[in-house]
């Protein structure tokens, strides 16, 4: 072959490849060199990076993180250390209420529920509460309007209990299904609670329930999402400079394999669908609503004007920077906030912290 033909062949080949591939980039992400230029090293404070952290709470001058075992470190900084927990137990839920640490445990060996426990802090001494079945598996502990809600599975059936502001047991709540009968489906349990100033809202699988403390009915508001799974709840009171008022619910449509954020304030509004499962919410700032996902980091929605603005281009609001790959592609179960410090609890990717609203993230 003459060198002229050879050169022409090479040029043609290069040109074709260049044309074919020139469109292969993601314009929603920053260019690579600009991304590199703005990178900062991720600080690692020594907690194992492969663990699942389900809860972080602030108790006095310490943070407590539930990851099967319970770790603690001073708020002011320092190393994480394990605290004592009941023998052969794994922590499944953690909350601070009435100045005490409440935790649900299961048996480490066989997964059987060990009920609800509490302890004062920082000196740890666990006491098992006997207000309800001590064999219950506590799946959620959450404060709303100063009440502590305890969601459990007992013989696979979901139940809900409350404790008052003073930590006094208030009894079991009624959890009816659409027919008014008590929850009868296996593994259907209350996953999240929110208070809108007059009523409580609960989500449990495909159920959205509302009512006063202790007695709930299935919500039947016009246009509410149906045929979807509910996961997280957040209520915003609104006001100048704040998130639009109303109830925010994360939903997952299993038939379409996508998630949406729905908003209710007299009427329902839903965001565009995103190919992920949204988890719990955090009002990270007055006008910023964060929502975790099961496989795509978290989404950061900002608006103080209206819901349409808040939900605009939701698919582009994925966070954090994609070079923080373990968090960007991670399962963010929930957030915890202590002043300007926000924790992201992940499944199998450890615990992450930001002190500047997500501009940088460090590993705990």
């Amino acid at each position: 072959m003459s060198y002229k033909k050879y050169t022409l062949m090479l040029l043609l080949l290069l040109g074709c490849v260049l044309i074919v591939l020139s469109g292969c980039r993601d314009a929603d992400l920053d260019p690579i060199y600009y991304t590199l230029e703005n990178e900062e090293e991720i600080v690692d404070r020594g907690l194992d990076n492969e663990i699942s952290v389900t809860h972080v709470v602030t108790g006095g001058s310490d943070y407590y993180a539930a990851a099967g075992v319970i770790h603690k470190r001073p708020v002011a900084g320092g190393d994480w250390t394990k605290i004592a927990t009941p023998a052969d137990s794994l922590c499944t839920a953690l909350a601070v209420h009435n100045g005490e640490l409440y935790a649900g445990f299961v048996n480490r060996s066989n997964g059987a529920g060990l009920g609800l426990w509490k302890t004062a802090f920082p000196a740890i001494s666990w006491t098992q509460l006997s207000d309800f079945a001590t064999s219950a598996e506590v799946v959620m502990l959450k404060e709303a309007n100063s009440l502590l809600f305890v969601s459990t599975l007992e013989s696979l059936k979901g139940k809900l209990y409350t404790y008052s502001l003073a930590g006094v047991y208030q009894g079991a709540s009624t959890l009816p299904d659409a027919a008014g009968e008590p929850f009868s489906y296996d593994q259907v349990f209350v996953r999240d609670v929110a208070y809108d100033g007059s009523d409580y809202w609960l989500v449990a699988a495909t159920y959205l329930l509302t009512g006063g403390a202790g007695s709930f009915t299935v919500a039947a508001t016009a246009g509410q999402p149906s045929g979807v799974e509910f996961w997280g709840l957040h209520y915003a009171a609104g006001g100048a400079g704040n998130l639009p008022a109303g109830l925010y619910v994360s939903t997952y449509d299993a038939s379409e394999s996508d998630g949406r954020i729905a908003h209710y304030d007299v009427t329902w509004t839903s965001s565009a669908a995103v190919s992920t499962t949204f988890t719990e919410f955090l009002a990270a700032a007055n006008d910023r609503l964060w929502v975790g996902t099961q496989d795509s980091g978290y989404y950061d929605l900002t608006s103080s004007t209206d819901v349409a603005t808040l939900f605009a281009d939701i698919a582009d609001q994925r966070q954090p920077d994609n070079t923080i790959a373990d968090l960007y592609n991670g399962s963010v179960l929930r957030f915890a906030q202590d002043g300007g410090t926000i924790f992201a609890c992940t499944s199998l990717a450890g615990l992450w912290t930001t002190n500047n609203l997500g501009a940088d993230w460090d590993r705990e």
């Binding site: 060198y3 050169t7 992400l29 991304t35 230029e37 070079t323």
Partner: protein, 199 residues
């Protein structure tokens, strides 16, 4: 004494490597036999270090690349047009980790023109490569235009085999029409060992 001789040898080698491109093709002037003839094909395998230098905006501002020292390899094939001119194509691959431990990959595919200076048994090809650079960092994938000027210093072991060292500057252009303020140029240095076979 040995150390002094060694230093002298290194200095002479460096002088030869760095200054040779500036010299005329003395073999021709001396009337020596041509090493290559039109139509001969050379194939070289290269492996070495990828040294991140700096990033630069199109306005001229410099910044740290935030990349660690990396590795690379390449395969080049081409045809000699005469004793001095050479035209070929090269496929390279590099890897380096950023400061967040993400792996950055580049695969430049370039056309390469070279001019060989001969100092038998050494030869100094000075070349320029131009083409596309397939890149990946974390979730982002891009294709840029890249220029790769450089030179090599080869020792001719036999009429077929030569071994040497490559010094190649990678200048990668990354314009960004969505936001021109984010456009940057990447500046890197390749230092690699090379084995070349000609037939």
């Amino acid at each position: 004494m040995l150390i002094r001789k060694g230093k002298t040898a290194i200095l002479l080698t460096l002088l030869l490597v760095l200054c040779a491109p500036l010299l005329p093709a003395q073999d021709e002037e001396a009337g020596s036999v041509a090493i290559y003839s039109a139509g001969q094909v050379s194939l070289s395998l290269n492996a070495g270090m990828f040294i991140p230098l700096f990033l630069q905006s199109f306005q001229g501002d410099y910044s740290e690349p935030n990349l660690k020292l990396g590795g690379l390899g390449s395969l080049m094939v081409g045809m000699h047009l005469d004793n001095n001119w050479f035209l070929g194509a090269e496929v390279s691959g590099m890897f380096a980790k950023d400061i967040r431990e993400n792996l950055m990959l580049m695969v430049p595919i370039t056309l390469k023109g070279a001019y060989f200076f001969h100092f038998f048994p050494f030869e100094i090809p000075v070349y320029l490569g131009a083409g596309m650079n397939l890149m990946k960092l974390a979730e982002q994938r891009q294709i840029d235009f890249i220029l790769k000027p450089g030179f090599s210093s080869y020792w001719k072991y036999s009429s077929a085999w030569a071994f040497g060292l490559n010094f190649v500057y990678w200048l990668d252009f990354q314009p960004w029409k969505e936001d021109p303020d984010k456009a940057r140029m990447g500046n890197f240095l390749e230092i690699s060992l090379s084995a070349k076979y000609t037939w």
